[in-house]
Subunit: 212 residues, 2 copies
């Protein structure tokens, strides 16, 4: 791991020297896998939203990520290129052996071994509603995993299709609306046509989860 | 530019030391921007297909890329993360100033300045049909642009939506079938919600091209 913030001067939590933009976290929604949980590490795909330069997240009530952020007020965004890990972390608990730990503010914080890069954020200004919480994010520390970074990601419509199918699968599970199944089948065709082995494995698992 | 094949021993065109996999070009279809044309450089989004370890392309008859590959039998696959460049190179000629040149087999071959990495391929076993040509690809030489590589790409549904919309826009232009317009509008919403500035610019240009 390369520590990106090793040259930081201590400026308090409001101002951090972590450059989110060079980590690819920019305006719009960056699809990361968020790890949380100092005691029991957990991971789930979460979009890191940046609007007008302000990074924040919206977390649905009742999820492990929601509970951990409410209790501990930290999260790590892991940048991951493996489509299977997006599907697995959506529907299953990852193995404890899939986490590494980084020291941030004296805490041992869980990140994903498969991450190409990670950022640990403090979650501030937490606002809760009946259905969700919204938290602003202050980046505290970040790092690259140079071994994982070795292989360049190339735009692949199959990978993208797995992400879309996963989004629609969670909506289908919540609503039961069959329009999502049609979309999922469309993206399965695309993943099968344009994807590689991991895209095919990911869609197979997603179909198993949905009983298709 | 870092020359990836500088440690190659000369093995002839059938066997090359360029590691396509570390360049992210793997089983499935990698969405690259292909540059061709020793005299008049040209660029267009083309999928590099790898099936059972065999890299090849399918090029539609009548395009500049098709003509250049038939005449010159080389192409460069450029790995690009800028969605605007995908839309611009689909519908317009890029400026001559947007190309760099690399020396391959004594030829000055055009690549894109914005490429994060590039591979020059020899096109062999070319088969032509009424509508297209199919060529097997032998990688000759590859390089990274470390400056462009500095910023990590993070999965972004907005970026992916621009790629999908561009694919559907070319199909719409060929067929006039309005079902593609519906898809394009769906992806415009996604690009607007999840994308950043470049995704928004890209979709705006695509809408202008289609007269929407």
């Amino acid at each position: 791991m390369t520590d990106l913030s090793s040259e930081c001067t201590e400026q308090g939590s409001e101002f951090s020297a972590v450059d989110l933009s060079s980590l690819g976290i920019r305006e719009g929604i960056s699809e990361t896998i968020v790890s949380t949980g100092l005691e029991f590490p957990n991971a789930a795909p979460i979009g890191i939203i940046v609007k007008g330069g302000r990074p924040f997240v919206r977390l649905f009530k009742g999820t492990h990520t929601w509970a951990n952020v409410l209790n501990e007020r930290f999260l790590a965004a892991n940048i991951v290129y493996n489509p299977l890990l997006f599907v697995r972390s959506t529907f299953f608990d990852l193995e404890p052996s899939e986490f590494d730990y980084v020291s941030v503010r004296g805490l041992n914080f869980p990140i994903l071994k498969e991450a190409v890069a990670w950022v640990v954020f403090e979650c501030i200004n937490i606002k809760t509603t009946d259905q969700a919480l919204v938290a602003d994010l202050t980046p505290l520390e970040a790092g690259f995993n140079e071994v994982n970074r070795k292989d360049l990601p190339v735009p692949n419509r199959g990978f993208n299709a797995v992400i879309e199918a996963t989004v629609h699968a969670t909506r289908y599970q919540l609503s039961g609306n069959e329009k999502y199944l049609e979309l999922i089948r469309h993206y399965e065709t695309l993943a099968s046509k344009c994807g590689g082995e991991n895209e095919k494995k990911a869609m197979k698992l997603l179909y198993e989860v949905l009983g298709l």
